[in-house]
Each structure stands twice: as structure tokens, then as C-alpha cells.
């Protein structure tokens, strides 16, 4: 029996074995490069103050305390966390509510002037007006110092829209046609037929939007005046700069506190990612293909 099995095994050449060993070593190295900074953030966030001074705290933990987390959870940074969560949560919902119907509409071959609309949409991928025109627009709309200034201008990402549109184009038209024969209008077809078939792309794009709203920094600084409305990213950067004390006036905040705020900043995405992970790759692959 064992002889039979052995005869079925493809004999690997020495070169292939070397190649495989090299692959494993290389990917392990890449894995370390990715994991070490996250590991460093985690172990620094639970270290004692004295252990993190001098910039030598890298891989091996020297102490363990949750003092930094206790500090951060009872600090003003939590307000930034909730602000970020509001903007990322509401922003993602608004963005999906606009992107999905728009992607569906653009996926319809029968849409009048479809090519024109697509060209107009694609144009925004190439040209970015920059912060000043956006500031003037936000100011004209009366949205300065309003959290919606961080949501409405970014409600549609062209990249995400094209992914959604391409995915929906890959759904056979016969499904929608059958639905319309059964009395569905376009909206009903989208809700009852297309969306259930688009879960992978919806999961991927939801994550993209969430991360994009969660990490928004420059616009938050430029459009928000009242520090009570600042997002966590703004407060985190403020913390890092303030403690740098380059003007000789800042507070001295140790690395462990900074890293605890960073962990707080990573938390929502780390929580959401496992739930959408299984759809993530397939969604991207399908949405990225233009038929």
C-alpha cells in the first residue's frame, strides 16, 4: 500500500526544494517585518514608564501594566474615539447608501449617457483639486466646524464606485430580467436580487469606506475648529507632537501612553476585519475584473 502511495508522489527536484525553503524563509521575514511594528506597539503600551525611555524598547517586553490603558480610557482621547466612531459609522452608511445605487445604475447597459457619466466619474480619479478648493467649498456650504464636513465630501469614492459597478456588471442580466417579469422595479431588483448576490463586494467596500473615514486626518484639522469635535487621529498626532516638545513647551508623554492611544486607534478596524475577511479577497477579485 505504502509503495503505491509513494509511487504517486511527485519527486521534487533539489532546485525546487531550495526554492521552497527560500520561499518559506522569505515569507517568514516579510511576516516579521509586518508583525514587529504591531508587536512593538502592543508591548510598549503595556510597559512601565521607566522602561520606555531612551528609545530601546523593541521586541522583548520588560514589564507589564495596564496603567497606560487606564489612563487613556479616562482621558479626553475617548471623546476623539467617539467622534471618530460617529464619523466612520455614519460616513460608511451614507457612503454605501450612495455608492451602491450609483454603482447599480452605472452597471445598467441601458442607462442613457452611461459612458458620459462614467467618464465624469473617472475624471475625479485623475484630478484632485486639493485642500484649498475643498476648504472654500465647505466654507460656502456653511459646514466649517461641523462633523458632516468630514462625511459629505467623501461620501463617494470613485475607486469604490468602480469596483461596485464592475461587480454588479458581472451579475447575469437574466436575474434582474426575471425579477422584473415578476413585477420588481429597479429598486426592488437591487434590494432583493442584486444586493444578496453582492455580499463579498459590499463587505470589501464597507471596510474600505470605514478605514478611510476612520483614518481621515488632514480634513479633520482643516475643517473642524472646535477641539471637542476632533477625531482620534487628530488627537493622536497632537499627542505625539506635543510630547516631542520641539518648542520646549510640550508635556512629556511617554511612549507607552502614545502606544495605548494607537491601540485604541487600531481597535475598530481590528474588530471589524475578521467579520469581513472571508468576503474580502473574493470581493476584490470579482469587482476588479471588467467584463
Amino acid at each position: 500500500m505504502s509503495r503505491t502511495v509513494n509511487s504517486n508522489v511527485i519527486k521534487e527536484s533539489a532546485a525546487r526544494k531550495v526554492f521552497r525553503v527560500f520561499n518559506v524563509l522569505f515569507l517568514t521575514l516579510v511576516c516579521f517585518i509586518v508583525v514587529i511594528p504591531i508587536w512593538n506597539v502592543l508591548i510598549t503600551s503595556v510597559a512601565e514608564d521607566k522602561d520606555v525611555m531612551g528609545g530601546v524598547y523593541l521586541i522583548i517586553p520588560k514589564s507589564f501594566t495596564l496603567k497606560s490603558y487606564a489612563r487613556v480610557l479616562n482621558s479626553g482621547y475617548m471623546r476623539g474615539f467617539w467622534n471618530s466612531l460617529f464619523i466612520a459609522g455614519v460616513g460608511t452608511v451614507v457612503a454605501m447608501l450612495i455608492t451602491v445605487p450609483m454603482g447599480y445604475a452605472l452597471a445598467q447597459r441601458k442607462l442613457v449617457a452611461r459612458n458620459f457619466f462614467m467618464k465624469m466619474v473617472s475624471l475625479t480619479l485623475v484630478f484632485d483639486a486639493g485642500i484649498m478648493p475643498l476648504y472654500v467649498l465647505i466654507r460656502t456650504l456653511g459646514l466649517i466646524d461641523n462633523s458632516w464636513s468630514l462625511i459629505l465630501p467623501f461620501a463617494v469614492s470613485t475607486f469604490n464606485l468602480i469596483i461596485v459597478k464592475n461587480f454588479m456588471m458581472s451579475i447575469p442580466e437574466s436575474f434582474v430580467e426575471s425579477a422584473s417579469l415578476d413585477g420588481c422595479n429597479d429598486l426592488m431588483a437591487l434590494v432583493w436580487i442584486v444586493l444578496p448576490m453582492s455580499v463579498p463586494i459590499l463587505a470589501a467596500v464597507t471596510l474600505f469606506y470605514f478605514v478611510s473615514f476612520w483614518n481621515r486626518y488632514t480634513e479633520a484639522v482643516m475643517f473642524i475648529n472646535n477641539s471637542a469635535r476632533y477625531t482620534l487621529q487628530v488627537m493622536l498626532r497632537a499627542l505625539i507632537y506635543q510630547s516631542d516638545g520641539s518648542l520646549g513647551e510640550g508635556n512629556i508623554v511617554y511612549e507607552n501612553t502614545k502606544m495605548a492611544v494607537m491601540v485604541l486607534g487600531m481597535l475598530p478596524v481590528m474588530i471589524i476585519y475578521p467579520f469581513v475577511q472571508r468576503h474580502f479577497v473574493s470581493g476584490l477579485m470579482l469587482g476588479g475584473v471588467k467584463e
Binding site: 482621558s75 477641539s227 506635543q242
Partner: protein, 479 residues
């Protein structure tokens, strides 16, 4: 029906008057300053407590804009370009930025307003003059000019027999610190900010950038003969191993931590930071006093500390509807002991700190946001007497601050030159000043790191200078 319409119209007109009447009663002003002010905390609740205190003190309604310090200039300039200039705003790197703002007519000329305020008029005229543009004053400074020196750990001096005075020669500096080679201690930790090299250029009478020479003519410091010796010395500092070999990526915070923890023997920092070295080395479990080195004496007896002059100051917008009220706010910030201390360092009693036996103790909420009681205002401010405040530093801190005051005075006495180029005199300079500064920094860092020789670096600079028509810039400035 007509009566009803008339009645409604009258009611609307009457209502429209109400806000006008109340607007006359309380002046509303916008105030913009980075988050290293407003009580030195990034917690919005704590910042608001300082705003409330300021409103009460000055009798105005304030809308505070408190961007993170790292993005402050971008925010301010975006607001200016978008037509939202705050009524009161602070500026950083005043010697570089103020001329640009004045050229764009953003700040109000303050000569008459300052003259109307006895408290602001009492400030030493030379501090106003440092920021004077075309005979006019557009900014009100609130602390002494910033000067940097080298802080050297005394325990390392003793352990390795390093004999350096407070004003050693350039050669002594290299020779003595070379004793640390092979000990694992970084002899001299230096930050990535290339401007700091001016400390060493001063020892050779060299100046990076355009400056007015002793004959009163504007010249380009990078092309003056003394620059060659100065750059050779900088290169030697690096090749001899005295300067941290990784300085090009070192942040200020890291540089300081190296000295606090004894990983490095010395660094370059503001004279007003002396007390931090004492307290933070103790916090790191590596307590040591530090010795200031105010300047290195060069071969020709020249030298001077790094003079950053007045870097931050207050301006009033040229569009401000009520400059007198705005001045009241600035006057309180600059000259009133309680307001100054609260705004720049300590915050508000009951919110940032409570007083226990005459000593301010940070509240738990404030501590959680990284706030700590700091007494820098005692040595930094123009205000001479803070004894009326209900809290005072501990005796140890008082002693350290007294010493710090002496160090600041000595640093001021031995500070090197700092020049401000007038705005609006040469359009070509106004257009190219940022790129000139950026290029000389690049060339100096390349020379120090050895990517190019001194000769090659200066040749590259000369080519750049010609490409921006530098000689025309000098001719226009000298007109």
C-alpha cells in the same frame, strides 16, 4: 388680513433687532493658537476651562480654534487663504512667517494699540524690534528670545574625566568628547533639524542663509569664505564619531531621552529646558545635573549660542472688527500673571489642578491626558513677579528654576546672530526664500554625512544660487 400681515412684518422687524442689540453687549472674537497653549492639554474639556477663564477675565466671548501644533501653520494658512483669518492668532517661526503675512496684509499694524497699553508698552523695546517690519510692529512677543546651548551630563563628565568649560574651544569639544569613543555612550546627540548646525557655524563667524554683514550689506552666507572652515568642522564632528551617527533620523524627543537616560552625554536644547533635564533624568532613574555649554570658541575667538530669537508672537487680524477688545485679550495673556500661567502652563484650578499645601497637584483627568504641572512661565515670561499666585513650585523646583534663570541670562548674553530679511523688498527673494533655505539645509546635511565633499557641496549650492538668480536677489535687497 392686511392688519395681520402688517403685524407679522412688524414682529419680524422687531425680532431682527434683538441679535444686533445683544451683539453690541458682548464682543465675540475668534482666537487661534496651537494646542501647546490653552493650559497645555489636548483634552477639549480642559481647554474649554481656559477659554472660559479668559472670557471672564477680558469680558469677551471667545471662539477658540486650537489645532495640533504639528499642523498649526497649515491650518492657519488655509484659513487665511480661505478668507477666515481669526481675530487673534499666534504665529510660530515669526521671523520667517511674519514678513509673508505682512506682505499679504493679514496682520494689523499694532504701533498705536501698543502705545495705548501701559502694560504692553513696558515690554523691552528690543523684543518688539526683533519683529519690526518697515518701522511697524505687527506682532506682540510673549516670551524671551529662544536660545539653545549644549547640555552635558555631569556624571558622565566625572566618570570619563571630560574637562569642558561653559565656553570651550571647538578643538577642546572634539578632543574631550572623543574620550567617550568605545564606551557605548553617544558623545553628542543631535536632532535631525539642520538649523541647529548654526550653533557651530557661529564659532567660525559663518551664517547659513542671507544676512546683513558688518558693512551693512546683504550677502549670502553659504558663499562667504568662512563657511568652508565651518563646514569642515561639522564634517569632522561627524567623522570623529563625536556626533551621533544616526542624527539625521533623530527626533527632538529621542535626543532628549538619550541624555535623560545617560545613553548620550550631551545634546543641544533650549536654555529654558534646563529644569527638564534635572527632573526627567531623575524620573528615568539616571539622575544627573547637566552643565550648559553656551558656545564653542572658534579659531578666531568667535562663537555664540544658537539664537532663534522671538519665534512666537500674537497678531490681530487686519479684518478684526474690534481690535481694542482683541488687544485686551493679548494684554491679559502676555502681562497678567494668573492668565499667562494658566494659558501657557498650568491651566485652571479645580480643572487642571488642585492646591494642596500651597502646591499645585494635577487632577486625575488632566494627568490621564498627559498633562503635568510645568513652571516654565516663571523663567520664560516678561512678567517678573508670579508670587501672587495661590500655588508655588516646590523648594527643589524653585532652586532649579533659579538656576535656569541664570542659565537663560547667560545664554542670552552669549547668543549668536539671528537675522530677519525684510519682506516686500525683493519679490524674487519672497518667491525663493523657502527653496533657498531648503537647499542650504540639504547641502549641509550632504556634506556632514559625506555624500559630497565640502567643495562639491558648495559648487552644487552655487549652481542652485545661479538658477534662482541669487545675485539679483542680493542686488534688490541692497537697493
Amino acid at each position: 388680513m392686511k392688519k395681520l400681515v402688517a403685524l407679522v412684518l412688524v414682529a419680524i422687524m422687531a425680532l431682527s433687532i434683538v441679535p444686533v442689540v445683544s451683539a453690541d453687549e458682548v464682543v465675540t472674537l475668534t482666537i487661534c493658537s496651537a494646542d501647546n497653549t490653552f493650559g497645555l492639554s489636548t483634552d477639549p474639556d480642559l481647554q474649554q476651562a481656559v477659554v472660559d477663564m479668559l472670557e471672564e477675565k477680558c469680558g469677551v466671548q471667545l471662539e477658540a480654534i486650537i489645532p495640533p501644533i504639528g499642523s498649526y501653520n497649515d491650518k492657519l494658512e488655509t484659513m487665511m487663504a480661505g478668507g477666515d483669518v481669526p481675530d487673534i492668532f499666534s504665529i510660530s517661526q515669526a521671523m520667517t512667517r511674519l514678513p509673508n503675512y505682512v506682505a499679504r496684509e493679514q496682520p494689523l499694524k499694532l504701533n498705536d494699540l501698543i502705545a495705548s497699553s501701559p502694560a504692553l508698552s513696558a515690554i523691552d523695546e528690543s523684543f518688539y524690534n526683533a519683529l519690526e517690519i518697515g518701522g511697524s510692529i505687527y506682532a506682540i512677543p510673549y516670551y524671551y528670545p529662544r536660545v539653545k546651548c549644549i547640555f552635558l551630563r555631569k556624571d558622565i563628565m566625572q566618570q570619563y574625566d571630560i574637562q569642558l568649560s561653559e565656553t570651550p574651544t571647538t578643538e577642546e569639544f572634539i578632543t574631550e568628547l572623543s574620550k567617550l569613543k568605545g564606551t557605548g555612550v553617544i558623545p553628542f546627540s543631535f536632532p535631525k533639524w539642520i538649523d541647529n548646525f548654526q550653533f557651530f557655524l557661529n564659532s567660525f563667524g559663518a551664517y547659513a542663509g542671507i544676512y546683513k554683514n558688518t558693512e551693512g550689506k546683504f550677502v549670502d552666507g553659504m558663499q562667504e569664505p568662512q563657511m568652508v572652515d565651518a563646514l569642515n568642522y561639522l564634517r569632522e564632528l561627524y567623522t570623529s564619531g563625536v556626533m551621533d551617527q544616526e542624527f539625521i533620523t533623530t527626533e527632538n524627543a529621542t535626543m532628549r531621552e538619550y541624555v535623560y537616560t545617560g545613553k548620550a552625554a550631551c545634546d543641544i536644547d533650549y536654555v529654558a529646558n534646563y529644569s527638564n533635564y534635572v527632573s526627567q533624568s531623575e524620573a528615568a532613574g539616571k539622575y544627573s545635573d547637566v552643565q550648559p555649554i553656551y558656545m564653542l570658541v572658534g579659531p578666531d575667538g568667535k562663537g555664540g549660542g544658537l539664537n532663534e530669537s522671538i519665534q512666537t508672537a500674537w497678531c490681530i487680524s487686519s479684518e478684526c472688527k474690534n481690535p481694542e477688545a482683541a488687544l485686551r485679550v493679548i494684554e491679559a495673556l502676555v502681562t497678567d500673571p494668573a492668565t499667562h500661567a494658566a494659558f501657557y502652563n498650568t491651566g485652571v484650578e479645580g480643572v487642571h489642578y488642585t492646591i494642596v499645601d500651597g502646591v499645585a497637584v494635577a487632577t486625575e483627568k488632566a494627568t490621564n491626558s498627559g498633562y503635568a504641572i510645568k513652571y516654565n512661565y516663571i523663567t520664560d515670561a516678561f512678567i517678573s513677579d508670579f508670587s501672587g499666585l495661590p500655588y508655588q513650585p516646590t523648594e527643589e523646583m524653585k532652586a532649579a528654576l533659579e538656576l535656569q534663570r541664570t542659565i537663560i541670562d547667560k545664554g542670552m548674553e552669549l547668543r549668536g546672530p539671528k537675522q530677519m530679511i525684510p519682506a516686500g523688498k525683493s519679490d524674487l527673494y519672497d518667491e525663493n526664500s523657502a527653496s533657498i533655505t531648503s537647499y542650504w539645509k540639504e547641502v549641509i546635511s550632504q556634506i556632514v554625512l559625506g555624500s559630497v565633499t565640502v567643495e562639491e557641496g558648495l559648487n552644487n549650492y552655487k549652481n542652485f544660487w545661479n538658477s534662482v538668480d541669487g545675485d539679483t536677489i542680493l542686488a534688490e535687497l541692497n537697493q
